[in-house]
């Protein structure tokens, strides 16, 4: 049976790759969709209102001076602003008046790598968009075309790992044959998993996110049992509340900013299969799976990046 499961999984992965090569990024777009874009002259704090008001965590930027796409606004930008403010508490005025086109300066001042936003033409194969996206840390890829007449850039949309995995989960029945336990696939991040406790100052958790280029920090108790996860997008709520100047706040207290419609942290064990993982991605808005053992102790993290990487390049 194991042999059969092994072979079926291998064939299913190959079939999903064929599917990803046969579709374009344009195919993933709904027939009718919204694309929210922000002018780079907008204040950072106003852009936060726009994101929260539209229940989104990222948006493409448009530089109306050059009439060009100016990269993506993501939670990393807000993390950079918090870190800048933390090391320059006297610069409140500057942070308050910071425009989106000033975010590059903040990156340079605090010495972080700019998010290398690759982009791709909407009619390129989806497989190619996934490969390009894996190369960039922003976990999303803008689809850029050119206006036929003026040759100016058009931001057609932005694809995320979540949207692509959901597209696969919804359209590829082969995901039902991914029956091997995820513990056997070598795709779980198990070594040196960054973690913290409820009492950890939230600024320390934010610095862990930023310095390790990760989007979530599991929170454990004294025995290593998983209690919660601090996510990069939680930073938006911190800034919105203006409580980023109270950075002595603990992670546990900062998590109280989460809105009540937060769906909770998804956990799994290494005996789970990608077939059920993809089933959950099809049905729910899940952005990662925290791997625990039978006693609920943290053993690893399975991110959407890990899953997509396996589907594209694993086996």
């Amino acid at each position: 049976t194991n042999e059969k499961i092994f072979v079926e999984q291998k064939l299913a992965v190959e079939s999903i790759r064929t599917f990803l090569n046969s579709k374009t990024s344009y195919d993933v777009l709904p027939v009718s969709y919204r694309l929210i874009v922000m002018d780079t002259a907008l204040l950072v704090k106003k852009s936060l209102n726009v994101l929260l008001q539209n229940n989104i965590v990222s948006a493409p930027l448009w530089d109306s001076q050059t009439s060009k796409f100016a990269g993506l606004l993501t939670s990393s930008d807000f993390i950079n602003v918090i870190q800048y403010y933390f090391s320059n508490p006297d610069k409140f005025e500057l942070v308050d008046k910071l425009q989106l086109n000033g975010l590059k300066d903040i990156e340079r001042i605090i010495g972080v790598e700019p998010l290398d936003t690759a982009s791709i033409h909407p009619s390129r194969p989806l497989f190619e968009a996934c490969l390009k996206m894996m190369g960039s840390r922003s976990r999303r890829i803008p689809l850029i075309d050119q206006d036929e007449e003026t040759h100016r850039e058009i931001v057609v949309s932005v694809l995320t790992q979540y949207r692509i995995l959901k597209f696969v989960a919804l359209n590829c029945r082969e995901t039902n044959f991914l029956k091997r336990p995820i513990g056997e696939l070598g795709i779980i991040t198990e070594n040196d998993v960054k973690r913290c406790q409820m009492t950890t100052p939230v600024i320390d958790a934010i610095q862990l996110l930023s310095s390790n280029g990760i989007a979530s920090i599991p929170i454990v108790d004294d025995n290593g049992v998983l209690l919660n996860v601090y996510e990069a997008i939680d930073v938006l709520g911190l800034i919105k509340g203006g409580i980023y100047n109270d950075l002595s706040l603990s992670v546990g207290e900062a998590l109280m900013r989460r809105s009540d419609d937060f769906e909770g942290v998804y956990t799994c064990t290494k005996n789970d299969k990608l077939s059920t993982i993809m089933d959950n991605i099809r049905k729910a808005r899940v952005h990662r799976f925290i791997v625990v053992d039978d006693a609920g102790k943290l053993t690893g993290v399975l991110s959407l990046d890990d899953i997509l990487r396996y589907i594209l390049l694993g086996e």
């Binding site: 007449e149 209690l227 919660n228 709520g237 546990g252 109280m256 909770g264 077939s275």
Partner: protein, 171 residues
Amino acid sequence: SKEEDSTISILPTSLPQIHRANMLAQGFPAASKISPLVNKKSKTRWHFGIRSHSYPLDVMGEIYIALKNLGAEWAKPSEEDLWTIRVRWKYDVEQNRTNNEKIPDLMKMVIQLFQIETNNYLVDFKFDGWESSYGEATRHSTISDDEMSTFSAYPFLHLTTKLIMELAVNS
């Protein structure tokens, strides 16, 4: 059989209500002061164009003044249609012309005043193609609207925001 052998679940202590109760129970100092973010799903309310309750001629006057302040030009209105303005507007952006190709730089726009009901008017803005300030006939005339499949609205949206701001500031 999927559900049986799956151990995927949602961590109870991560649900906001349970987390909040735990934090208060453990007496974290700031716990009682921090309220959850209200994800106000305030649906953006959209309007067609911009509304005005001023007298029609006043509205037209304000629009012409705003267009003049912004350096736009317009065709002389015909007697029988005083409520439509055909605008041509130089779209001034830093053009890093790669192979010094001629990019059409004059945007055409039609601004029209509609009456919704007594004392309630609506100003509609419509994109009306590009022209080149160096006189070349743009290809727009050749590409019919149906074939036109990749159009960037951002220059049009940007110019309308400038016009709306000018109107808002002036009024």
